[in-house]
Each structure stands twice: as C-alpha cells, then as structure tokens.
C-alpha cells in the first residue's frame, strides 16, 4: 500500500464541510490521487498555500479510509476555517507529529481531561479506543468548553453518554443560553473521580496555560506522570511532535 509520506506536499480537497457548533466546522479531507492516510491519534495536517494555511489536528481515527477529518474555527478572520469551503482544493503536508502512546493506555481506564479545542485530538484518540474497545477499561471524558454554543461534537457526546462503561461530563466557563449543566472548568470533576490511580491513564489537551491546573489536579489524586500524555499545540506550529508524556512536562 502506497501511503502519503509526511514530508511531501500533496493535493487534497475538502470532500465535506459540516458545522459542528456555532464556532467550528468539521472538514472531511481526501487526497486527490486517492492514496490512503495512515495516521494515529495526536497527529495533524498542515494546510499550505498562502491564505489557506494552518495546522489542523486530526479529529478522527481510521485505518481503512482514504480521508480524514479535521476541525477549524469559523470566526477568526483570515484563518483557514474562515476561507475554506466544500470542494476546495488545498495543498497539505502530513500527517505530521507523533501519536499518543496507546500502549501506555492499554489495559487501563482512560480519562480525557480536555478543554476548548483540545476535544478535537481527544476525539481522534476516542475513536481509536472505541475501535479497540476490549483493550481498555472504563472511559471517562471530562470536557470544558468556553460557553454552551462552543461545545463541539454535541451529538457524539450524547451518544457516548449512553454507551456502557463510559462517562461524559461537560462544563462551560460561562453559562446562560439555557444551560442547565455544570459551570466551571473540567478539573472541578477530578476530586470526585472514581478511578484507581494505579490503573488509570490520562490524555490532556487544551490551551497550554490550563495544563498546570490539570497536572496539579491529577497529581492530587496520585495519577502517575508516566501514564499521562499531553498535546502541546505550540509544537504543531513548528512541525514538531506535539504529544509528550507527563514525565516531560513542563517542557
């Protein structure tokens, strides 16, 4: 099977563009020459070509499709998301970066502690876990969004809430808009988390300034750093591997 080399620039197109919240849309990216993608959770694409450029964490996981999903913000003027539309052709590089060390997670309960757009790479890892469900224990998603309208993948979150052996908790920093759920940040769920620290792995993703709070909250319940993986979004801007282990944080 000939797959894309991460160093080459290849021509892709936007097969589908779907709004997933009032602030973001999901794009299905396919390669014009039909070559498949091989990617792991935590990797990203780089869109290249002047105005239509940017780093795009991959939002799904599949080992069979010749396409992948990314998410981009709608609102930032001049951004990739504000310019790209269905059927647009775009030059890409990638998949770039390294993948979440799933072998560290295998055999454990898995907690996602994510905020804002960190739910995008988290979804990729979630898809991987669900495709290999028997390899993992309980799955708990703790997700913080800025406001109710900014919650991404709402219908998928609802479906996961109904899955057996899965727990989903969502908090928003600002309520209103009829929001009846939790108001705050996702670390507020940590003190009452019902997990065995000796058998739990955690994936963290979100704005970098939130990681110190997340790491302290996890240390407070004795989750070991070697079973924690973080996504450092600033590294994507430099085409560097974005996933690090908790033992290497802070960078």
């Amino acid at each position: 099977m000939v797959v894309h080399d991460s160093t080459e620039t290849w021509s892709g197109y936007v097969k589908e563009a779907v709004g997933i919240s009032s602030t973001h849309k999901k794009l299905v990216i396919a390669s014009e020459d039909g070559r498949p993608f091989v990617y792991g959770p935590g990797q990203y694409l780089r869109a290249e070509g002047g105005l239509k450029s940017g780093c795009l964490p991959i939002a799904n996981w599949s080992d069979t499709e010749a396409e992948c999903e990314v998410v981009c913000a709608l609102s930032e003027e001049g951004s990739f998301g504000s310019q790209v539309a269905e059927r647009d052709k775009v030059m890409f590089r990638g998949p770039l970066g390294n993948t979440v060390p799933v072998d560290v997670f295998r055999g454990n309960d898995v907690v996602f502690l994510v905020s804002h757009e960190g739910v995008v790479p988290a979804r990729s890892l979630m898809h991987y876990l669900l495709a290999h469900r028997n390899d993992f224990g309980k799955i708990i998603l703790l997700y913080g969004a800025p406001k109710p309208a900014g919650i991404l993948f709402k219908s998928e979150l609802e479906a996961w809430k109904k899955s057996s052996n899965m727990e989903v908790k969502v908090a928003v920093e600002r309520g209103g808009e009829g929001w009846m759920g939790y108001v705050g940040v996702p670390t507020m769920f940590i003190p009452r988390l019902n997990v065995d620290p000796g058998k739990t792995a955690v994936f963290l993703a979100g704005p970098s300034h939130t990681y110190k709070f997340m790491v302290l909250a996890l240390r407070s319940i004795q989750i070991p750093a070697e079973r924690t993986a973080l996504m450092i979004s600033e590294r994507m801007e430099m085409d560097e591997p974005a996933i690090i282990l908790g033992t290497d944080y802070p960078v």
Binding site: T187, H209, F213
Partner: protein, 133 residues
C-alpha cells in the same frame, strides 16, 4: 474608609500562617475567622458570608485551594466574595499563576506568593474589602 468589623475568612492548613494573619488583621479592626481546609470553610460559610476570603492552595491536596475557589464561584451566595489567594504553590511546583491570564481556571481577585509583608497584606485586604462596599 473604616474597615472595623469587616469579616475575613482565612482558609489555610498552616496554623502559624493563620495566627500571623489574624494578628495583623485584628490589630487593624478586622474580625478573623479561620478554617484549616475547604470542608471546614464551606461549613463556616453556611453560618455567615465574609467580606473577604484569604485562601491557600496546597492544603490536603496540591490544588485544594483552586478546587475551593471553583466551588465558591459556582455558589450564587458566595460568588461575589473577593478571594485573595495567598500561597507558595509557585515555589513548590515551578508553575506560575496569574488571574489576569488564567481566567476561569483561577477565579480569584488577587494571587500573591508567600511570604507576604504585613503592610502589603493590609493593602491587599483593604483594597479587596473596599470593593465590596
């Protein structure tokens, strides 16, 4: 501005810190209540609402003070009470914190590293308790 009688709740598990803060504030007319952890503090807050809370971070857990501030801010009765976070968490962990940039993850009015000069403490307390007028 006469601060006589204003109530300050100190939430800190270090009795020496609590005693030192109590001494400074009482000498300047404040009433000082104390709690050694967030559970005791929440019980005290059922009785009356202070004009200011001075909260440590690292108590029974590394982030107990942060968790306490989230509880306070989510409680309509308590959400407007100013919080002065007085802590050595930055020295202990190497992480730096700033309410201006950390936003809802650090929902406090002031964040000050220990130790604090008594005059600086008084200035902070006066400023924050006058905000409740």
């Amino acid at each position: 501005m006469d601060d006589t009688g204003k109530i300050v709740l100190v939430v800190d598990d270090d009795p020496d810190i609590v005693a030192a803060i109590r001494m400074v504030l009482k000498a300047n007319g404040y009433q000082v209540r104390s709690a050694a952890n967030s559970d005791e503090a929440m019980q005290a807050l059922q009785q009356d609402i202070p004009d200011l809370m001075i909260v440590d971070v690292m108590m029974r857990t590394l982030d107990e003070g942060f968790q306490f501030s989230y509880l306070v801010r989510s409680d309509e009765r308590l959400a407007q009470v100013p919080i002065l976070m007085l802590t050595s968490v930055s020295k202990e962990t190497g992480f730096s914190f700033d309410p201006k940039t950390d936003g809802d993850w650090l929902p406090v009015n002031e964040f000050v590293e220990k130790p604090i000069d008594p005059e600086d403490l008084l200035d902070c307390v006066r400023k924050l308790t006058n905000q409740t007028n």
